[in-house]
């Protein structure tokens, strides 16, 4: 094993561990919030996208319309579209490989693939991270649902504060420019202001109006 490959494997293990903590919390908070255990478990298996799972579940737990939850989750995942093009060289090949590679495309796997210099290493990093993350993410969700059934009072343990905190922690690395920060701030303000008047779930979609900040930057 070359040193750089060993470093890659070590970093992948660290990322899987960090994501497993997120996934345990996600499973526990969903179940403690009143959802049956199969909901987070199935979502982890077939959606396999932390931010979208947590955002959609938050909206549903807040009493929002499932379609608003789908819309928020789907819009969050539009970022996977460019990822697919970025790593298309490593997910190519047989149809099975393409389908499996597509499902394993995450922020993490793409980040690891992009860090490598040779195509062979890119492929290795992508598939190692993808498979390891898929297994650890799903095992952790199941573990979380078990923990969640033991804590059946979300309020007492303050678990209702964990989803928003998780989403802030997930969003911050993407806020690298001032305009994105302005867009996120304005969007959040608009969403909160509209909460008393719009059906639950919709105010979140209104936050996208904050993206106007980015347009202003482009026209200059």
């Amino acid at each position: 094993m070359s040193p750089s490959r060993r470093t890659t494997v070590r970093d992948i293990i660290l990322v899987c561990a960090a994501d497993a903590i997120l996934s345990v919390s996600y499973g526990a908070t969903s179940v403690a919030g009143g959802l049956p255990p199969w909901v987070p478990i199935v979502m982890s298996l077939i959606v396999f996208s932390g931010g979208a799972q947590i955002a959609a579940t938050s909206i549903v737990l807040a009493g929002g319309n499932p379609f608003a939850a789908i819309a928020a989750g789907a819009l969050l995942n539009t970022r996977l579209l460019p990822y697919g093009f970025t790593v298309a060289d490593v997910t190519g090949g047989s149809w099975f490989k393409r389908l499996a590679g597509a499902h394993l495309t995450t922020d993490e796997a793409v980040a690891f693939a992009l860090r490598q210099d040779s195509p062979e290493r890119r492929r290795y990093a992508f598939w190692t991270c993808g498979v390891a993350l898929y297994v650890s993410w799903n095992v952790a969700t199941v573990a979380g649902t078990v923990a969640g059934t033991m804590m059946n009072n979300t309020g007492t343990f303050g678990l209702d504060a964990t989803f928003p905190a998780m989403m802030l922690a997930l969003a911050l690395p993407a806020i690298t420019r001032r305009r994105v920060a302005a867009a996120a701030g304005t969007g959040a303000l608009a969403a909160v202001a509209l909460t008393p008047v719009l059906p639950v779930g919709l105010p979140v979609l209104a936050s996208l109006g904050g993206l106007a900040w980015l347009r202003r930057g482009r026209s200059r």
């Binding site: 903590i21 997120l22 919390s25 959802l35 909901v39 077939i46 959606v47 909206i59 807040a62 499932p66 789908i70 928020a72 989750g73 789907a74 819009l75 969050l76 995942n77 539009t78 970022r79 996977l80 697919g84 093009f85 970025t86 393409r98 597509a102 499902h103 495309t105 007492t156 343990f157 303050g158 209702d160 504060a161 964990t162 989803f163 928003p164 905190a165 998780m166 989403m167 802030l168 922690a169 969003a171 911050l172 993407a174 806020i175 994105v180 867009a183 996120a184 701030g185 969007g187 959040a188 969403a191 909160v192 909460t195 008393p196 639950v200 105010p203 979140v204 996208l208 993206l211 980015l214």
Partner: protein
């Protein structure tokens, strides 16, 4: 959450993931478009975080949760490790409730 809703979200998500491997020879996505989609994700995550921190249904959700999320968020800005952020948010909220803050 109905199974149909989960299935729709799964199919849409998978379609986004599969578009690249299928269409890559015919389409190219600009860096600008990539940045824009990352910004969409950031704006939505912050909006869901802030609304679920502050509100419950159509009303204010109470000070305990608001303070807990604020504490966790502050630690996240300071680049605290993820478990610290999550546990702090829950702990601050739980302790405030124990002290009688709604």
């Amino acid at each position: 959450m109905p199974i149909a809703a989960i299935a729709i979200l799964a199919v849409v998500t998978f379609a986004f993931r599969l578009a690249g491997p299928v269409f890559r020879t015919r389409v190219t996505i600009s860096t600008q478009a990539q940045d824009f989609m990352t910004a969409v994700a950031a704006v939505l995550l912050v909006a869901v975080a802030v609304t679920s921190a502050l509100t419950q249904g159509h009303d204010f959700g109470g000070w305990a949760r608001t303070a807990g999320v604020a504490a966790g968020g502050l630690l996240a800005v300071r680049r605290a490790p993820f478990p610290v952020v999550v546990v702090t948010a829950a702990l601050v909220t739980a302790l405030l409730r124990l002290a009688g803050v709604a």
